[in-house]
Symmetry: C2
Subunit: 342 residues, 2 copies
């Protein structure tokens, strides 16, 4: 598999987006969000999504030259109308505002309306955590999650990120879907010949299944708990922003790419300094994480990690060796680039 340097990928995607008329202030977050996810090893939300986004842009789903505006504001809150632009840019503008509010009053919460897929929630949580804030980001998503016992899905594998600053290394970063697994993960597990648990998903009729080929819907983590968490994320992302919720949330794939998504997100920032001296807090965070990493495992070869550790390992390798790009993706990127340069 070929590997791209970060610079080369950034330049390629930048050229394609510019050619499509995407404003530089928007394009930088599409490129930034996708390359950060790929660098961190989160390939499902990385560069591999780029060709899909370009198609959605050309077909009219995504608006590359939006009129972003805050439609409602208070001292600690705001609502951003994203005018159907890339969710990456909408989320970044929202978290910038949340951070500005948190600097003033300790906390900022911003709901985003009329948005599209925003990629990895970590992109937004990490932005806040790099400025001594606890960052929060969440989105709802295409309904693929089944209420245990139901016969069709009603909620998305709605996702959230909480990122927390710590001394001497990149932030703690929990970025999770509320489904037990994702379709991507199911595919990888099957390819690796590992067993699939019946609590992960169900077939088209809702019957729990351990055959990845027949799994059509996903179960939530922890039964009613994960379903409840997915509802909470749907409620804040969809109802604080006035967007559709539950089974009415639009689909990412399998529908015309000219159709708008009408997604909502919520991002938040809490200034650590409103509660504790940031240096004290960050030193405690580091000691806490180091303590959990050093905990005793039953298997001597076992390694305990904290959220964000696998991504930090991947990033160290990929910054050195480049970002792997599969042949099929390479061909699509080269075709897009050739079009951009024509």
């Amino acid at each position: 598999m070929i590997r791209f340097t970060l610079d080369k990928l950034e330049a390629l995607m930048g050229r394609v987006l510019a050619r499509c008329g995407v404003e530089p202030s928007i394009a930088k977050h599409v490129v930034g969000g996708l390359t950060e996810a790929s660098l961190r090893g989160v390939d499902s939300h990385g560069v591999q999504l780029f060709p899909h986004y370009v198609e959605a842009l050309r077909a009219g789903r995504i608006n590359g030259a939006p009129h972003l505006r805050f439609t409602k504001e208070s001292a600690a809150t705001a609502v951003l109308d994203a005018d159907h632009t890339f969710g990456h840019a909408a989320g970044a503008v929202a978290v910038d505002r949340a951070m500005a509010l948190a600097r003033q009053v300790g906390v900022g919460v911003v709901a985003v309306r009329n948005s599209t897929h925003f990629g990895a929630a970590a992109y937004f949580g990490l932005m806040a955590a790099r400025h001594d804030m606890i960052g929060f980001a969440s989105t709802h998503a295409t309904p693929h999650v089944l209420y245990p016992g139901a016969d069709r899905p009603t909620l998305g594998p709605n996702a959230m990120c909480v990122a927390v600053p710590m001394a001497g290394e990149e932030p703690f970063c929990l970025d999770m879907a509320t489904s037990a697994v994702t379709f991507n993960r199911l595919k990888l597990v099957k390819e690796a010949g590992l067993p699939i648990e019946s609590s992960w998903g169900a077939d088209a009729d809702g019957v729990p299944s351990t055959d990845s080929a027949s799994i059509a819907h996903l179960f939530p983590i922890g039964g009613y708990k994960g379903y409840g968490l997915a509802m909470v994320l749907d409620i804040v992302c969809g109802m604080l922003s006035g967007m559709p919720v539950g089974p009415q949330v639009s689909r990412m794939y399998g529908v015309p790419l000219s159709e708008r998504r009408f997604l909502g997100h919520v991002v938040g920032a809490v200034a650590v300094s409103a509660f504790e001296a940031p240096e004290v807090f960050k030193a405690r965070m580091r000691a806490y994480c180091d303590g959990l990493r050093a905990q005793s495992m039953r298997d001597e070869m076992g390694v305990a990690m904290v959220p964000g550790d696998p991504e930090k390992r991947a990033e160290a390798v990929r910054r050195r060796d480049g970002i792997p790009v599969a042949p099929e993706l390479l061909a699509r990127l080269e075709a897009l680039d050739a079009g951009a340069q024509a």
Copy 2:
């Protein structure tokens, strides 16, 4: 099993706490929190805890006449020093402040330090949700949760509640521990002769077990996801408040009741009106929940519920028939009451 009316239980507990010198402003939340949990069918966090609390009060762990004070304040945040009083009262004072802040700036977040066990998180989340706010409450707890593969527990089954107002009925209320199950639930499952899943807990050496008698530690929901969530709750409850975290969190049982707990909590309130007209939001919430309740189930007898529904059913029955009190608890309550009236 005998049943107590709400009035009778409130009066009995009020007499006992008054006799122990607990200030009325504190006692009302101990009584309110415990009876609300019992009414809602959450017996693990209800009146059955009352004798334990009275012992902890007499032994010096809990301070019945505290000097509560806010040690740090901003326009959207505060830190409350609970002076080792009942967590029920500390949480209620904190959520009152969070609601006052949210009325002013849209959001309020309050961290509590030097607290004790606060009972059911729902007590605080519901307070905010009854005033057209999204209520959040969280606490850390005695370390009983095992990192998958580790040989001893490092985190508590840290708990959170999110409560959301809806039209025409009590709020949506997700109140959950981040462990797959609780010890209480394990006991009930065993008594009912139902199977125990190996993903629920482990024996004293950390080996996953399906024998409830040998389960010493609990697993988190969804593996690393639940562990990560438990860390997030530990971080906000313990580090924003300057309290111990992780394996250093104090134990509720098995240690002298004279020992202070030094627990932290975080509560929050988000004013719906900062984002959306409350009447619109609450009507949407109701339609959303009714839609999910009406979803089609594979088993025709199956019933879909949303968070808070089981508790609403229990409350309807218990308001009519009274709160069941087991014989052993009855004897302890009567002894406490006799002491109070002596």
